[in-house]
Symmetry: C2
Subunit: 234 residues, 2 copies
């Protein structure tokens, strides 16, 4: 069986470094319809791969389907994320395609997954193996904390206008998986419908090791379905 590219091991090794505890936040860059860049912090939830294809890893993260990034990804699916692990001084820059899998209950067109680009071999492989996207979406949703889950119950798109902090007082603070009452049930349904799975399929990874002297840099590139690596000038 094909094996995972070496950069996955490098990331896992860096994550296990005691000084990198909790360093599961990276900054994801996208491009909007007017070709302006955007960047925001997201939480790395897991790696995954199509069954039997550890050589085609994907990163699992999530979003609110109403955020501008989803609209941006419907226009341009290219992303690059910068993952800075301060403790070990490692930087991983991961470039590739993002795929949004929303809830089938999201309103109107928002329920449509983003199209899968022809070059996105891992996403294509998932599609070919009739991967259960919805089960994966719910698996990640169910792992979230009740307070995190409440963040998908804001009444309008994140980033949209708020008249006063007073309004926030009416929003749920926690959305438990086991509703205790009708209010909890309604909130759970809303959170579940706004929560979208976001998968990132890397096609190149640029790893800089600033923690060692002289610094090292390795660039991993996928051509077709094959990963190659090349030393580079830091």
């Amino acid at each position: 069986m094909a094996s995972a590219p070496r950069w996955v091991e490098a990331i896992n090794k860096a994550l296990s470094h005691p000084d990198n505890k909790g360093k599961i936040i990276y900054q994801v860059a996208t491009v909007d319809a007017s070709t302006a860049p955007h960047a925001r912090s997201q939480v790395h939830r897991a790696f995954m791969n199509p069954e039997g294809r550890p050589d085609l890893p994907l990163l699992v993260t999530s979003t609110d389907v109403r955020t501008p990034k989803v609209a941006q990804l419907r226009v341009n699916q290219r992303v690059e994320l910068a993952w800075w692990m301060e403790g070990s001084q490692d930087q991983f820059r991961i470039s590739g395609f993002a795929h949004i899998h929303p809830s089938p209950a999201a309103p109107g067109d928002a329920s449509q997954p983003t199209p899968i680009p022809a070059e996105a071999a891992a996403l294509k492989a998932l599609e070919a193996t009739t991967f259960d996207w919805e089960a994966k979406r719910l698996e990640i949703f169910n792992k979230m904390s009740p307070s995190m889950r409440a963040s998908w119950c804001v009444p309008r798109a994140p980033g949209s206008k708020l008249d006063s902090y007073e309004e926030q007082k009416k929003w749920p603070r926690e959305v438990p998986l086991e509703p205790q009452n009708g209010e909890d049930e309604k909130n759970l349904e809303m959170a579940k419908s706004n929560f979208a799975l976001m998968l990132i399929e890397p096609i190149s990874v640029d790893w800089v090791e600033l923690g060692i002297q002289p610094n090292r840099r390795t660039i991993f590139t996928r051509e077709g379905e094959k990963w190659t690596e090349q030393l580079a000038i830091p």
Copy 2:
């Protein structure tokens, strides 16, 4: 006199939080000629503003003039950076224009500063006050550590192919400001010629406070030369 927008104070306050010690690294997103996004970590060096115009702040960072980001900025000067301050759980997303001021000694076209967009009021104001770009560039260069300065002495563009780690052994490890010999002098000249000043002019700032409950979000927008702020849904 016009005063600094409130987000500058918010960043400085977050930076002074004891748990945010050393959090001067942000991830800067750019767009390349094929409209793919890119993101990398950069070090925040300082704020600055045109004389008498604290209402038009800029962020000071730097780069090697040979990096792909400089080529990207020559095509598209829009940038957005995400500044995550883990200790206080503040995120600042700063969107605007980047300006590269290279060394006049950089080879050929690389010595040309990037053009200043008409909407870039702060950069325009600097230009109008005959700001001494080169003096600023050297001020920042001179503040760098000797080992940081050595990073601009790599023989080819950062990111380009390296045949083996053996080659690195010939590169200088330190470039002191006061050369002790001809080798030091040559290295200082090379570092100085590859070092470019990078200024970022913000036109909108999206501040999310995840350290307080309920979370807060404030979006600052510059229209013309005037900053306004609006509460937003986190």
